[in-house]
Symmetry: C2
Subunit: 135 residues, 2 copies
DNA sequence: CTTGACCTGTGTCTTAGACACAGTCGTAAG
DNA sequence: CTTACGACTGTGTCTAAGACACAGGTCAAG
């Protein structure tokens, strides 16, 4: 199986497959004649796992650690549980940050509706952003 | 005014000031003797504006465009209004994405509570992530 | 003068792929 | 058979917004 074929089977892009190959997450066999990479069943299995973990927003580095544990025959489950908890906390922070920013932006748009456009002056590049509230 | 001093006055980091200097957003005067960068009042004004725009999550590239317009004496307000609308749309998308991911993670954690840790097998690296639902 | 703490500019690193590029394959026409 | 051409390939480079490492410079205390 070549790179684009594998990508299509698992519904991802060739660039993604190449990237995971490049950093050693999946190990293709090198065709000695043309240097093309060839992927076997195990590589496909591995890539499927990686893509599933990425859907949970696991980082590539985290996935690498998980695979390292599993490759040594040990359970990766505790590590996986730990990562997912951590990711949930981060996601909740992102969620709150996005919520707060949304409110700031909405308020700005609303405030600015009543304000005119102005040319910049020496000490005021854009009164919308800079001015707390105009005179 | 030197880099750390300016950073402290506007409550940011020296690395940030150096970065904006490096890409030409603010233009310090080079002290000829030791090569240190020196910032005047106008640079401080400019940095203050940049930091305010960053608080609205404007990208550095967008801020560069705004400054370019203002430096030519034209109103940057229409551009600013356009960017903030765009940013609001993006932020709402991020908000929804974070919300969806949060639900996925919460469900995963909940489902996994009743599942044991397992050693990897030839075709199952981690049953938590891989198994739709177990046998 | 010397020590040491702090400061400085420059160069490199970070994520997870996307994109550009030159070379290669496969196939269809001639 | 050759040729042409589109689709494919690996490798190298690029991204955002600073953070960090490092070698050298500055400054006040002793």
């Amino acid at each position: 199986m070549k790179v684009s074929q594998l990508a299509k089977v698992l519904n991802t892009t060739p660039d993604t497959v190449r990237y995971y190959s490049r950093i050693g997450l999946i190990m293709p066999i090198k065709n000695t004649e043309n240097g093309y990479k060839s992927y076997n069943q195990q590589a496909q299995q591995r890539l499927k796992f990686i893509l599933s973990a990425r859907q949970l927003d696991f980082s590539v580095e985290e996935i690498k650690e998980i695979l390292l544990v599993a490759d040594n025959g040990r359970t990766a489950c505790p590590l996986v549980r730990e990562i997912v908890e951590h990711r949930l906390a981060e996601t909740e922070k992102k969620f709150n940050d996005a919520l707060a920013l949304r409110n700031v932006l909405r308020n700005a748009i609303d405030d600015w509706k009543s304000k005119p456009d102005k040319s910049p002056t020496g000490d005021m590049l854009c009164h919308l952003i800079q001015g707390g509230n105009d005179e």
